[in-house]
């Protein structure tokens, strides 16, 4: 680790102006950033911690019934506080990493990082969530722009994430044996106006929607409805833990399992 300074502002405004300086970087739970620093793979001059900002903490229900989660809310808090309001999201959060990771890691950090194997991106895209930042609101469909790439501008802070609550939903995560991130993860959510299926862990382009499955499930929300489909292996990740063909196969298996668990 290289030497750095740290600041802990207590308002979003202060955080935003601190992040306006060159060499400053936001620090959420540090579960991704700190290991990177320890390996000397990054050298920010100043870390701006977002964990002391009350406006960015906690879970509440918005005017339209959506679940609103402060950007610096930990996975453990989300797991606990959405257990009734959005059980599929709670289930997802409760299986991220281990207790230490869940007690430190934050939803904003996870979505800002947009690891291609992370869990939250599947929930956000699968729910058609809105990513609220200090300057604007971004629809999930516009937010995820490829592996580790998002619509965020430098210094922009995720202050809140709003999840419309579906009628039924479920997340199926098939773990990569070492990291236990998603080798493939599928989030299925059924809304009044249709079904969304978001896939993480699989693609070179990061989280994506499986359109064909969405169409089929919107017509008939049953595992049988996607029996005839095949997920394409094109552009899927190939690594030690799985070939594109294996990942494509898992996408279908997990989608069926998610539908069955949700139904």
């Amino acid at each position: 680790m290289y030497a750095f300074e740290i600041e802990r502002p207590s308002t979003i405004g202060d955080a935003a102006s601190a992040l306006g300086h060159d060499g400053a970087q936001a620090l959420g739970g540090g579960q991704t950033l700190i290991p990177t620093l320890k390996q000397r793979l990054a050298a920010p001059e100043k870390l701006i911690s977002l964990t002391a900002i009350p406006e960015m903490q906690g879970v509440c229900i918005g005017d339209a019934g959506e679940v609103c989660i402060g950007g610096a809310t930990t996975h453990a808090t989300v797991a606990r506080e959405t257990a009734k309001s959005y059980p599929a999201l709670s289930g997802l959060a409760s299986h991220i990493g281990d207790p230490a990771v869940r007690n430190r890691g934050t939803i904003g950090g996870s979505l800002a990082n947009n690891d291609p194997s992370a869990c939250y991106p599947a929930a956000a895209l699968g729910s058609g969530a809105t990513i609220v930042t200090n300057t604007r609101k971004i629809a999930a469909d516009d937010y995820f722009q490829g592996m580790f790439t998002t619509a965020l501008e430098p210094g922009e802070i995720i202050t809140e994430v709003r999840f419309p609550v579906p009628q039924k939903a479920n997340y199926q995560k098939f773990v990569q044996p070492a990291s236990r991130f998603a080798l493939v993860g599928v989030f299925v959510a059924k809304y009044a106006d249709g079904v969304r299926v978001a896939v993480t862990g699989a693609s070179e382009d990061g989280v994506f929607r499986w359109d064909a499955a969405e169409a089929a499930l919107s017509r008939d929300f049953s595992a049988a409805a996607i029996e005839g489909l095949t997920a394409s292996a094109t552009n899927l990740i190939s690594d030690l833990h799985g070939t594109p063909a294996y990942r494509a196969h898992l996408i279908k298996v997990l989608t069926k399992r998610a539908v069955m668990a949700a139904a």
Partner: protein, 789 residues
């Protein structure tokens, strides 16, 4: 009623109190006055010529005290291989120098070529980044088959080819074995990979070098499984320090599994640096350094063939193995694939003819050496896999095929065709016990229940044997060992009757401090609490050979019992004097010396006190004091054996394997502490399951370690593992050591991998998806691919 103390009791591990309350004293915990820190520059390429290293910028960095490169050690010795192997053609193995720091050439990713000493770790690391090195990349040799086939790319420029040795065991058997294959009614052939493993001790390697200019004494604190061997290597072979001027201390050590047997260059570096700058120098590896530079384990590619009758009677076994030794020969790396592997290829079976061929291959990867089981897991895995495959091919029950071929109790002592003599065992008994404890009879019902849930259930077994209690010096000397493998203990009875036992074995998780005290307590009839076991400091203990090869109790424990016997003999002399009786009439029992047939007696405490207050001793015939040392060199290896089964469920949709049950019926000889033995088996099986299902060390074609962190290297976690059933009721005591012990430290890691793989293959076969073989680790992706091939 279970015993509550002494031999056979499950005494609680006394060392756990300090380990579990954070009071252990590991090398990294030690802070010395004026301590400085070392950081190493490690190669980021697999193979390159070092054209130049410019250290000037680094030397000018804040806090920097010294910079070392390979040139600083050009004149000192190399770290030697402990065994000299002869090839089949009579040539001696190739042994290119293993320097303290790479000099002229870096040979694997992680190879250290420079070191910086600074006031803080961060300053040392900053300066490492300021070193300017000019590498001229050389072709990397990574794949063993390529390394053997193509001499034009060589792992070390000084070599003419990449083969370290080409060893045949036993060469004289070869023609007979080939003839048996030529006429055999059935031959099963299997090619398999025994996957390379990263040891992953919880505590990374660490060393502190200290030099006292006033006395010219060196001191090395280091994470070692055998401080005396480290002292011998670093002092006599590498640095040229007189042995009596170097004190090596291995304090609490957090696991080794073999990786801390060896001497590593970092140890020599901190000593040289401490002398140069006149202050202690400390180095603690980070996890990445552990992945890149600890000696790895296994990494064999084997073709094994089994010739048998149609009824499954074994006629002959023949193997050809490529064993990776990496870029440098680590201390036991040449012994592991040969004398700890080839000699075990008869297994517990009557197979009359066996021939083993091993080619050790240099590659541009981290050195490979002994890792829990060392050679014996590789032997067991290939044998137990090929037997299963043969049974399948012949439509025979793999359990019965094994039973038919097991050596029977009337055959001991049994001399194998690969030069070992098994002293005792009862392999039928452990197999029968396994059948009972695993509820084999109920398997079909369980399989049907799994099928209802859409899962494929399978049952696999292995019947294994190993040679441990390493080792008879005369035998290993004849086989090329450059060291003896005796051990030693000193028993010091203090005036007030309590006891310090200084042992050559080193405990780095095994629980010696508890078990050795139990043994002494039983022998002397004094409470365990009055006995301390001292280990790990060459200034305190007699010259011993440390812990590996499940040798601690069988070899060092025996030395200890011999020293205790001497204490008792001396005590009798003292008692005879005090009781005015003749020495021959003194009996010792329950902590009391008494005159036979009388009520005249002295307690152990009275004798001890008298030994140090010898006011009226006949000094010509009776020395004061009560302290004895014994050295012990075993007459033979010990031969633990057993039968393991594994029951799995495989998910047909994903290929994921779940272990439903794991049963071990072991014969460890006499068991001193059943709880600790169970713990050793649990840990060993966890590592075996890790190898079978999870752990995969992968170098890419350029020699980059792809699995250099826990993000990609899968270690077994608690929820990957089942509850184990472990039994050691079928014990046959070892015939050639007084405790009758055989050793239990490696068994779990030896017997388990084939049981797991056999179970998965069984599950697939039962579900109508016959697959001949899947190489470890049986990850979901691999199992799914095999199922759908």
């Amino acid at each position: 009623m279970p015993k509550d103390h002494g031999i056979g009791a499950s005494s609680k591990r006394r060392e756990d109190v300090r380990f579990l309350t954070g009071k252990g004293n590991y090398t990294a915990d030690i802070t010395l006055y004026g301590q400085t820190y070392a950081a190493f520059a490690r190669s980021n390429v697999a193979h390159a010529k070092i054209k130049s290293i410019d250290t000037s910028a680094a030397e000018a960095m804040p806090g920097v005290l010294a910079v070392f490169t390979g040139a600083d050690f050009a004149d000192v010795g190399g770290n030697p291989a402990g065994w000299l192997i002869q090839s089949r053609n009579g040539e001696t193995m190739k042994e290119p120098k293993r320097p303290v720091l790479a000099h002229g050439e870096v040979c694997h990713v992680g190879d250290a070529y420079a070191a910086v000493i600074a006031e803080t770790v961060a300053q040392a690391r900053n300066a490492v980044e300021a070193l300017v090195v000019d590498f001229e990349e050389l072709p990397a040799v990574v794949d063993m088959a390529d390394a053997v086939a193509d001499n034009s790319k060589r792992a070390r420029t000084e070599l003419t080819d990449n083969i370290c040795f080409d060893w045949g065991w036993i060469e004289d058997n070869r023609a007979a074995v080939d003839a048996a294959f030529a006429s055999a009614p059935h031959v099963t052939t299997l090619e398999l990979v025994n996957n390379r493993l990263v040891p992953n001790a919880m505590e990374p390697r660490a060393s502190i070098g200290v030099y006292d200019a006033s006395t010219e004494d060196y001191k090395l604190y280091t994470t070692s499984q055998n401080p005396h061997l480290t002292r011998l290597l670093v002092a006599a072979f590498v640095m040229g320090i007189p042995e009596h001027k170097l004190n090596v201390i291995a304090p609490d050590v957090g696991g080794g599994f073999g990786s801390k047997i060896y001497h590593y260059g970092e140890e020599a570096l901190v000593l040289a640096a401490a002398k140069r700058i006149g202050r202690p120098v400390k180095w603690v590896a980070d996890r990445t350094e552990s992945f890149l530079s600890d000696a790895h384990g296994r990494d064999h590619v084997t073709k094994i063939q089994l010739a048998c009758e149609k009824d499954g009677t074994f006629l002959a076994v023949r193997t050809e193995t490529l064993a990776n030794v990496g870029a440098y020969l680590s201390n036991f790396s040449t012994a592991t694939p040969t004398f700890l592997h080839g000699t075990l290829m008869a297994g517990p079976y009557k197979t009359p003819l066996v021939y083993v061929n091993v080619k050790a291959v240099f590659t541009n990867t981290a050195p490979v050496d002994a890792y829990r089981g060392a050679g014996r897991p590789e032997a067991t895995y290939s044998l137990e896999r090929v037997i299963d495959m043969a049974a399948r091919e012949l439509n025979l029950d793999p359990w019965e095929v094994r039973r038919k071929n097991l050596i029977t109790t009337d055959m001991f002592p049994y001399t194998t065709p690969v030069a070992l003599q098994y002293d005792t065992g009862n392999y039928q008994a452990t197999l029968d016990k396994l059948i009972e404890l695993s509820d084999k009879a109920g398997f079909e019902a369980r399989a049907a229940e799994s099928a209802k849930r859409g899962k494929m259930r399978g049952l696999g077994l292995s019947t294994w044997i190993e040679a441990c209690g390493i080792a008879p010096s005369a035998l290993v000397g004849a086989l090329g060992a450059r060291v003896g493998l005796f051990d030693a203990a000193t028993v010091r009875v203090n005036p007030t009757g309590n006891i310090s036992v200084m042992v050559g074995a080193h405990s780095h998780g095994q629980g010696h401090e508890t078990v050795f005290a139990q043994v002494v307590s039983s022998m002397l009839g004094i409470p365990e609490a009055n006995i301390d076991i001292v280990h790990g400091d060459t200034a305190k203990i007699p010259f011993g050979m440390g812990s590996y090869g499940s040798r601690s109790l069988a070899v060092c424990g025996t030395a200890m019992t011999k020293a205790v016997d001497k204490i008792i003999a001396k005590g009798k002399k003292i008692a005879a004097h005090m009781l005015e009786a003749s020495e021959g009439d003194i009996e010792f029992a329950d902590g009391k010396f008494s005159v036979a047939g009388t009520d005249k007696a002295k307690t152990f405490g009275e004798i001890a006190f008298s030994a140090y207050v010898p006011h009226n001793y006949p000094l010509e015939t009776l020395e004061p004091g009560l302290e004895e040392t014994a050295f012990y060199d075993p007459a033979n290896f010990t031969y633990p054996a057993g039968a393991y089964s594994c029951e799995v469920e495989v998910d047909p949709d994903t290929g994921k394997v779940e272990i439903m049950a794991f049963t071990c019926a072991d014969d460890f000889g006499n068991v001193m502490n059943p709880m600790i033995v169970n713990g050793q088996v649990h840990g060993g099986v966890a590592q075996g399951i890790g190898q079978a299902l999870l752990e995969n060390t992968s170098y890419d074609g350029n020699g980059q370690l792809v699995t250099a962190s826990y993000m990609d290297y899968a270690m077994p976690r608690a929820d990957d593992l089942p509850n184990y059933t472990v039994d050691h009721s079928c014990n046959t005591p070892c015939t050639h050591n007084p405790l009758g012990v055989k050793g239990c430290g490696e068994a779990g890691a030896i017997g388990s991998p084939p049981a797991v793989v056999n179970a998965v293959i069984d599950a697939l076969a039962r579900a109508g998806k016959p697959v001949k073989h899947i190489d470890m680790p049986l990850s979901p992706a691999r199992v799914w691919a095999a199922m759908n091939a």
